[in-house]
Structures are given as structure tokens and as C-alpha cells.
Amino acid sequence: MMGLFSSLMSSFLLLAILGFGLVLIVSGNAEVDALYAWKMNLSDPNSVLQSWDATLVNPCTWFNVTCNSDNSVTHIDLGNANLSGQLVPQLGQLSNLQNLEAYGNNLNGTIPDEFGNLTNLVSLELFFNRLSGPIPGTLGKLQKLRELRLNNNNLSGNIPMSLTNVGSLQVLDFSNNHLTGDIPNNGSFSVLTPLSFHNNPGLKPPKYQTSPLPPAPSSSAASSSVLSVSSGSLLLGLCSCLFSLHYLLVLLPYQD
């Protein structure tokens, strides 16, 4: 009886240990999962993602991935990698991501709204792809974003006003897309010029203040008398100038 009980206990213990171990393996690393989910959505003819192994404890040894000292992803460098496919919402889980470079590929589909969760993002480089749909308004939450390059895609819809709240913006390029509506000129967009938006036929440039502000009220009488004195000397100067010209062109040639 005791023997049966003890063997039952040890089997139970063994199962518990195995089960626990299994749970450990299955839960893995959330960042590994997120990036691997993206890999599953990509076609990779150059085998750039060959090192992206889902069985590893973290993605920090993967090529084109950089981590910080806590083994959390900070940089993804996949520019000009001949990738096709789409971005995935899971990428929004990379909470320490600072640079996402996926420019010059063949990516289609939309920019996920979940990118608004990448609160440490400093640069987002998705230019020269085939991305479509709108620019997510959630990108207005990215308060550290300095460089936003979405040029040369098929993006449509309006420019989200929330982006004018991203005070850190330094370089923005939305050119060569199918964006429509007004170009904001307030907040962080005050330093942006048509250079950032060219070749979006449906975009309307901001209106400018056509009438100047009224002049300060104080000394308008003084300024008008200063004006009349200078106009007298202006007439004098103009007349002597015209006279000299007349002499050079008409009178001089006849003095042979």
C-alpha cells in the first residue's frame, strides 16, 4: 500500500516537473514570438532571416536585430533586404524598439495601429515599399519619434492631426504617396515645408495669412514726414541718372 502511494507520488511529481518545464518552453520570449510572427508573414528570397530561430531564449543573437543590456530589442535593420509580405500587429509589442528600418523592400498591406504602442520609437523607416491604407493616427502617441519616413508607398487618406503633437519630429517625408486632405501647419508641422509632402496630388497646401498684421499705432505722423524728404532726394537722384544715360547714349556718339 505504501509502495503504491509513493510510486504514485513520484509519478505525480515527475508529471508536475515535466508540465512545468513544458509551460516554460511554450511561453518562451514574447519578443521572439512577435518577430517570428512577422517572419511567418514574409517571403525572404535572400534568406536574410535565416538566423531567426524561435527556439532561442531571446532574439538578441539573430542577425539584423540589436538588443539592449536587458536583452530587449532596440533596433531592427532590414533595409533593402528584398522582403515581400506584410507588417504584423505583434511588432507593436517590442516596447523598447528605437529604430525600425524596413525600407526598400516589397512590403504591402497596412501600417498596423499597434505601432502606436512603440513608445520608445525614435525612427520609423518604411519608405520605398508598397504599403497602402492610412497613416495610423496612433503614431501621434510616439513622443520620442524624430524621423518618420513613409515616402514612396501607396498610402492614402488624410494626414493625422495627432502627428502635430509629436514635438520631437525632425525629419518627416510623406512624399510620393496618395494622401489627400489638408497639410497641417501647426505644432510640430510648423517646421515642415512642401518638400515633405510633394507628389501627393490630393494634398492641399496650408493657407497663408494674406493680409499683414496692422502696424503699431504710435508714430505714423513722424514716419510720413520722413518719407516725403527722402522722395525729394530720390527724384533728384533719378533725374541725374536719366540725364547721364541720355548723355552717354545720344550725345557722346555724335562727338566724333
Binding site: 517625408d173 497663408y208 499683414p212 498684421l213 502696424p215 504710435s218 508714430s219
Partner: protein, 242 residues
């Protein structure tokens, strides 16, 4: 010395041709590489800041983006976003060749030894400029009205130069202007009405007046009609001397 009419005409034609030629030499190929090459040629670089870093022999994509003071739109494309050449001891006139950097939004030439005037057609040279810092140089002449057409200007610093004349009244149309300083110049006259620009932005210009500085004074006692009569008489004399 008297000239026959034919010789005179010939001289006029030659002068016009030379003028045209010099104009073409300024407006060459509209690329950013040409822009920087021309700027380097037009400025004196006594400390060799540009000479050491601006090497045009290694011609790879985006190579100018690695030059000192050059910030590009994209690190792999030769398209200049900002040019920051502050405190390099540079001498010469305002580099007009910068017009060829057609995507430029920021220009900082502060703390150098640049001289001469600020070009009157500056709005054609720097069409999209948002930040312009020409402070601490030896620029003279007037502030060109053309700057009022640089409608994207957020920051304009002209302090510590030898600029004369008035601040153009048309500056009140610069709706994005947030920073504007002209301290330590030789400016005179009425200050235009600019939002959010305080009095210390205008300090050390003995002739500047009007809000936010004290109001402009009335002119000396000589009457207007006397002055105009004087001008008319001297005009009559000169025009009929021959």
C-alpha cells in the same frame, strides 16, 4: 576720350556677354553635389574644416551625407536637409550657390567672418528655409525684403552684424516666425508688428523704435515744403546744364 557710336555699341555688347557668362557660371547643374562643391569654392576656409572633410573624389551614393556640417534627408541619398557651418572661421560673401541645394530647410552660417550683403533674391535662393542663422558675421547693407517671402521661416537670427536700414514691414506676414533676433546691428526706424517677439530681440540698435521699444521720435524742425523746393531747384539746374 570720345567714342564712335559703333565702338560704343561694341563695348556694350561685350559687357552684356560677360555678365551673361558669369550668370551661367553661377546657375549650373541643379544637384546637391554641385551645390556643396560651389560653396566650398566660393568660401575661404582658413582652418581647413571644409577642406579636410568635403572630399568629392569618393563618389558613392549618399557620400555628401558624411561631410562635416551636412545633414541629409536620407543617409543614402545626396539630398541636403540642413547645412550647419557654424564657427568655422569661414570668409567671403554669402554663398549664392546654395540655391542648388534645392531641398534645404536649415542653414546655419553663424559665428564666421562672412561679409557683404544678404542677397536681395534670398527667397529664390532659400525657398523652403525654416531656420536661418546668419548671426555673428560681418554682413552689411540692408535686411532684404525678399526674406518676407521665405514664408516657412520659424527662426531667423541676424544678430551681431553690421546691418543698416529698416526691418522690412512685410515681415509681419511671416506667420510661422517664432524666433527673431537682430541685436547688435545698425538698424533704424519703425519695428514691424511681430507676434511674440520681445524687446530684447531688438537691443543694441540705436535707431530702432516703435513697439515693443519706445515710440519713434518726430523728425527735426525743417518744414517739408522747404525741403521739396530745394530738391526741385537743384534738379532743374542739373538737368539743364548742357
Amino acid at each position: 576720350m570720345v567714342l564712335s557710336s559703333r565702338t560704343f555699341c561694341a563695348h556694350v555688347i561685350i559687357i552684356n556677354f560677360l555678365l551673361l557668362l558669369s550668370c551661367n557660371m553661377v546657375y549650373g547643374t541643379p544637384t546637391d553635389i554641385f551645390c556643396l562643391e560651389s560653396i566650398k569654392k566660393s568660401l575661404e576656409d582658413p582652418y581647413g574644416y571644409l577642406n579636410s572633410s568635403w572630399d568629392f573624389n569618393n563618389n558613392t551614393e549618399g557620400f555628401i551625407c558624411r561631410f562635416t556640417g551636412v545633414e541629409c534627408w536620407h543617409p543614402d541619398e545626396n539630398k541636403v536637409l540642413n547645412l550647419k557651418l557654424s564657427n568655422m572661421g569661414l570668409k567671403g560673401q554669402f554663398p549664392r550657390a546654395i540655391q542648388n541645394c534645392s531641398s534645404l530647410t536649415g542653414l546655419d552660417l553663424s559665428i564666421n567672418k562672412l561679409s557683404g550683403t544678404i542677397p536681395t533674391d534670398i527667397n529664390h535662393i532659400l525657398e523652403y528655409v525654416t531656420t536661418l542663422d546668419l548671426s555673428s558675421n560681418d554682413f552689411s547693407g540692408t535686411i532684404p525684403v525678399g526674406l518676407a517671402n521665405c514664408s516657412y521661416l520659424n527662426s531667423l537670427k541676424l544678430d551681431q552684424n553690421q546691418l543698416t536700414g529698416q526691418i522690412p514691414g512685410q515681415f509681419s506676414t511671416l506667420s510661422r516666425l517664432k524666433v527673431f533676433t537682430v541685436t547688435n546691428n545698425l538698424l533704424t526706424g519703425q519695428i514691424p508688428n511681430l507676434r511674440n517677439i520681445s524687446a530684447d530681440s531688438y537691443a543694441n540698435n540705436p535707431g530702432l523704435c516703435g513697439s515693443p521699444l519706445p515710440a519713434c521720435q518726430a523728425p527735426p524742425s525743417k518744414s517739408n515744403s522747404a525741403v521739396i523746393a530745394e530738391a526741385a531747384v537743384s534738379e532743374f539746374i542739373v538737368c539743364h546744364v548742357n
